[in-house]
Every structure is written in C-alpha cells, then in structure tokens.
Amino acid sequence: MNLLARNAPKESDRELLAAVASGNRRALEELYLAYHRRLARFLSRFTPAYENVEEIINDTFMVVWQSAKDFRNASQVSTWVIGIAYRTALKSIRRQKNHAGAANLDDCPEQTFDPRSDDEMHDWLKQGLNRLPTEQRLTLELAYHMGHSVEEIAVITDCPVGTVKARMFHAREKLRQYLPGLGGSSAPAERA
C-alpha cells in the first residue's frame, strides 16, 4: 500500500483538528508540518512552480483554520485536508490554464516510442499526464501517486464512486490514444 496515503496517524490528526477548531494555532502548525511534505509532493506533480505549491498549501490551511469546527468526522482528517487542497488546486490550475491556453491530447499527434525504455516511458508519461483534462489528471495522481482508494477519492473530489472510476477509465484511454505503442489505441474495456 502506498505510504503517502497511509502515513498519518488518524487519531492524533483528529485530536489536532479538534484543537484547531477551538482556536489553537500550535495545533494548526503541527498539522501543517505533518501534511506539508505530502501535499507539496502531490501538488508539485502538476504545479511545478514552488510559489504556486506553497500558495495552494497555505490557502488550504487557511480554509482548515476557518472550517475545522465544521468537520463532522464523516471521513478521515487526511481525506478532508486533501479534499480542500484538491479544490484549491483545481481553482489554481483552471486559472493558470485560462491564462496559458490549455493543451489537451486531442491537439497532439500520436507519439512513437519504445515501451521497453524506462527513460522514454517516463518522458511519455510526463507529456501524456500534462495533457489530460484536469479532473482526470488529478484522479490519476490521487490513485497512483498518493495511493488513495476509489472511495477516498470520491470523498476528496466530492463525486460519486462511479464518476471517479469513469474519470480514471477515460484518463487511461487518453493515455493510450497518446501512445499507441503502449497498449493499442482501443479503450481498455473494449480489448477483451
């Protein structure tokens, strides 16, 4: 199991968040330090500029500070915090794309590569991931980089489980379209 998603002690997180809800800033700082590395690694996957990563993390913890009293123990603290970071990141990415003009897989010619080469695989993945629609990219990152279950991703993204599965499926399908050499151009479910 991916340690990124499993390394936060759940009970101490709940205690910290309860303290934050009562206005304890030291508890907020402890929570911040506990999550900073994990969030920074997640966010830097698709927001490489450091000041953007930091801005999203700090905005996230401002929301945590303001909303801790609204946490109802319906999910893990980690899922709740990452959900806030997800929504903050989504807004930031959309704003960046509005400025820059987003590229997507439909704009890109198919690539040829040798799937046995790790370097080429890595380069291809970076290019392919950068061209996925934002929600699909984030879903893939939450599953494969952060190690979250489909149910956790549903909570983080505030979507039904079926939507999470569909986003993941379409992300995989688009990666294939981008790189036929990896697994053919047909959709995964159609290849049986």
Partner: protein, 228 residues
C-alpha cells in the same frame, strides 16, 4: 481468453477493468480483490491491462526526493493568520478576505523589486536613513536587513517565480548551497554552503542561470572559513 469466454464474462470484465487501478495501488476491499484476482486468472486481456497499469504506476513514482522547506512557508501562513486576526479585530462584522490570489503577485512584485531593493539596501546599510528613528515601521524590506540573515548565510539570492522545485534543487546541488531561510518579503533566500566549494564559484553558477534574478555574497563569505 477466447472471444466466447469474453462475451460470457463481459459484465464482470468491464467491472474488473474499472477496478484494476485500485488493485495496482492495493486499496481494494478483500471482496473486490478476490473478484479481480479470480477474473485475472482467466482473462489475458486484463493481465495485459494490469501489466500496463503497473508500469504507469511505477513511472509516476520514480521522481527523486525533492527537498521542501515548510518552515519558510509556515512563517507566511502565520503572517496570513495574523493579518486575518488583525482584520477581524479591526472590523468584526467584515467577512474574511477571499483566499489566495494576492500572494503570487506580492511575490512577483517583490522578486522584481529585489534587485533595486538590494542596491538601495546596501546604501542604507552603509549610511542609515536620516531621521529613521522617527519613522514608522518601513513598508518595504531590503536584503541587508540584519535581523533576517542567519549566521551561516554566505549568499543571498532571488529566483525567478517561474523556477520549478526540481530546477531549484538541481541548481542548489550544483552550486553546493542549501536554503537556510527565505524567501523574505522581498523574495530573498538566504543560502549556506554545503561543501568547501568556493563561494565565488557558487555565485558564478547561480549567476549564469536564467532563473536567478540576483545573487550576492555576504560578509560571512569573506571570512576565513569560506573561500570567497
């Protein structure tokens, strides 16, 4: 698996295909895991799919460790909270400001300002501001503010806001420097030496990089322990 077998198991096949990513990251329930494993034993297409997804999963987790500096960003969060508290005390009825956006522009402006601030700051350090004791707290910061510089600092630098974490780390590795504090309000990082590499060499490496807006050695860099 034959075509006939596939059509007979099509509903389960589609369900399993959807579950494969979470089989790969090992977060499926026992029930779903058994279902996937049972299907995999009979379906070559899903085994291929699993192999491919494992490569993608592996490929997304090969990045080397990147150093993060939570202390500096935590300081900025404290500033944000203090600002919010001050605003709240000033006007308890007023809603909190919308989160977020000003910081980036503050940073950009600060980074652009840093070169000028450096020159101005150097002059101020040498001469002092006439009548400065009578002035209110300054609304700007300079790279020479003595209270902000740690003892081990040998270089002060301002980086382009567009520099990525990976680029920054690679640049610091090459120049054998590490961040000890920053960025300040003016966007200035304090850097310490990580090896015996002369500070002048580290500075030269920094200055030739397109994402370095400003880099200067400090007094400590000229001390006997540090080759200038």
């Amino acid at each position: 698996m034959s075509t006939q077998d596939s059509s007979q198991h099509a509903p389960q096949h589609k369900e399993v295909v959807m579950l494969i990513p979470w089989y790969v990251n090992d977060t499926l329930s026992d029930r779903d895991r058994s279902k996937v494993e049972g299907h995999l034993a009979a379906c070559a297409a899903c085994r291929d799919e699993l192999a491919l997804e494992r490569r993608i999963h592996e490929g997304m987790n090969v990045d080397g460790p990147v150093e993060y500096m939570p202390a500096a960003s935590l300081n900025r969060l404290r500033d944000m909270l203090d600002g919010k508290s001050a605003a709240g005390e000033q006007n308890a009825v007023e809603q909190p400001k919308p989160l977020g956006r000003p910081r980036r522009w503050q940073w950009l402006a600060a980074a652009s300002f840093a070169g000028a601030a450096a020159a101005a700051g150097l002059w101020v350090a040498g001469h002092g501001l006439p009548g400065s004791r009578d002035l209110a707290a300054p609304v700007f910061y300079t790279v020479t503010n003595p209270a902000t510089h740690p003892r081990e600092e040998v270089v002060r630098a301002v980086f382009s806001p567009s520099i990525t974490l990976v680029e920054l780390q690679a640049l610091l590795d090459e120049a054998q420097l590490r961040i000890v504090s920053g960025p300040s309000e003016a966007g200035v990082y304090s850097l310490a030496a990580r090896s015996d590499l002369p500070v002048s060499t580290s500075l030269a490496l920094l200055r030739r990089h397109a994402s370095v807006r400003f880099a200067e050695g400090t007094e400590q860099a000229a001390e006997p322990g540090h080759a200038p």
